[in-house]
């Protein structure tokens, strides 16, 4: 339609001026298996738990689907007080068929891959006897909903996680619990259609 221009308005910037409360993240609860030898791979299997409590960067239908996040191929490059990993893959799945169960890791990676990407580097530090944290960055490169993110919004998402090795938190067969999130660097906002005249009004 010629009279309308499809514009992507950076409403997040506008919103931030009035309120910085529109926090978005994929908040997950995961179990991870960590290697002890350099060159081996870590993996993690998690459930996205935002529900109604915290906004997700893309609209998700928690009433009808389960969303899982899987990290694989995260290679341990060095160990020490901080361990360094690289080369991981991160995928978020949407599934309405199989309830995720940590006893069956394969159940986390069925369904539709809505976002997939790379966790190029990740550092992991134990800071207390059983508690630590991990941090890295995700670049989204695939998935059925990748195109809902503007190209500039697809890279550099912080991957931040709490690490717990408390016996009460770790499922059988896993090394530690990850209570974390993947989040955009700023709010992802929807595309809005406006007429030229309305657009001009914004600049008067």
């Amino acid at each position: 339609m010629k009279s309308l221009l499809k514009l992507t308005l950076v409403l997040g910037l506008i919103a931030t001026a009035g309120s910085a409360t529109a926090v978005q993240m994929f908040d997950f609860d995961a179990q991870a298996i960590l290697p002890t030898t350099v060159g081996s791979a870590a993996e993690a299997y998690g459930i996205i738990v935002n529900g109604d409590a915290v906004d997700t960067p893309l609209p998700l239908d928690f009433a009808n689907f389960e969303y899982t996040i899987v990290v694989t191929g995260l290679i341990l490059d060095s160990t020490g007080s901080t361990s360094i990993f690289s080369g991981g893959t991160v995928v978020i799945y949407e599934d309405d068929a199989t309830a995720a169960d940590w006893a069956v890791p394969a159940g986390f990676s069925d369904g539709v891959a809505i976002l997939s990407g790379t966790l190029a580097t990740f550092q992991h530090t134990m800071l207390l006897a059983t508690v630590g944290s991990g941090q890295g960055y995700v670049d989204w490169t695939g998935g059925t909903r990748l195109n809902e993110l503007a190209p500039a919004d697809q890279t550099g998402w912080p991957f931040l996680t709490t690490v717990s090795r408390a016996a009460t938190q770790v499922e059988p067969g896993y090394t530690e619990k990850w209570d974390g999130k993947v989040e955009p660097t700023e709010d992802v906002v929807a595309t809005e259609v406006q007429s030229w005249s309305n657009l001009k009004v914004l600049f008067r």
């Binding site: 915290v54 007080s81 800071l127 690490v163």
Partner: protein, 223 residues
Amino acid sequence: MTLRKYVSRSMVPVMLVLLTIGANPALAAVADYVGFGWETGGIDPSVPGDELAIATVVTQIDALFGIDLNAVESTLYIDGLLSQGAIVNPSTGITTISYTGGTLRLYADPGEDSDWGINPANGTVPSTFINGDLLFEASFTSFSLILQSSGGGAFEGYLNGTGGSALIGPCSDCAYTFAGAFSTPSGAQIPEGYDLQVDGVLEVESAVAIENMSWGSVKNLYR
């Protein structure tokens, strides 16, 4: 410590010890939370007497707390933690801050109105995080926060239960909380005026739960 679960005058409350077999050595009622914290005067540097507060929303909660997150909002609010000052390890750059005092409160609110806003305390913090029904209240016996120069970090604290509708009575050393704590260098989204993003867990011991049974049912257990 016990969590209040069932109430009926026509039934006799009986203490049943719930034993677990497997990897988990103890049962705990768990709440998973995410939110933001700030310290008076800012956390860098944390100086003696600064007060840390943390406002969070609960994303998962154990059924033992007796609420449904599809029907109500649950918030967890921590305040009154007084900094003893920051200690920086010169070789690692890791900052450790110990705190004294402090209270943790867990609420269920049908209003679902929590809003972090900016520059706390503000018009919505703490007010929208401390409204609703008080489910659990506890006082910290210890609390430590550790931060790396990369922006990643963690905290943990131990608590005595003091009140709330889910708690049947005071309890000592019966709750534990830990979280990742992420400051600006980590890339975490942090609203203006806050110092930390946190993502953590509250565990309240519930190894002994109350279940109501008739006398006949109790007798059958011994036949």
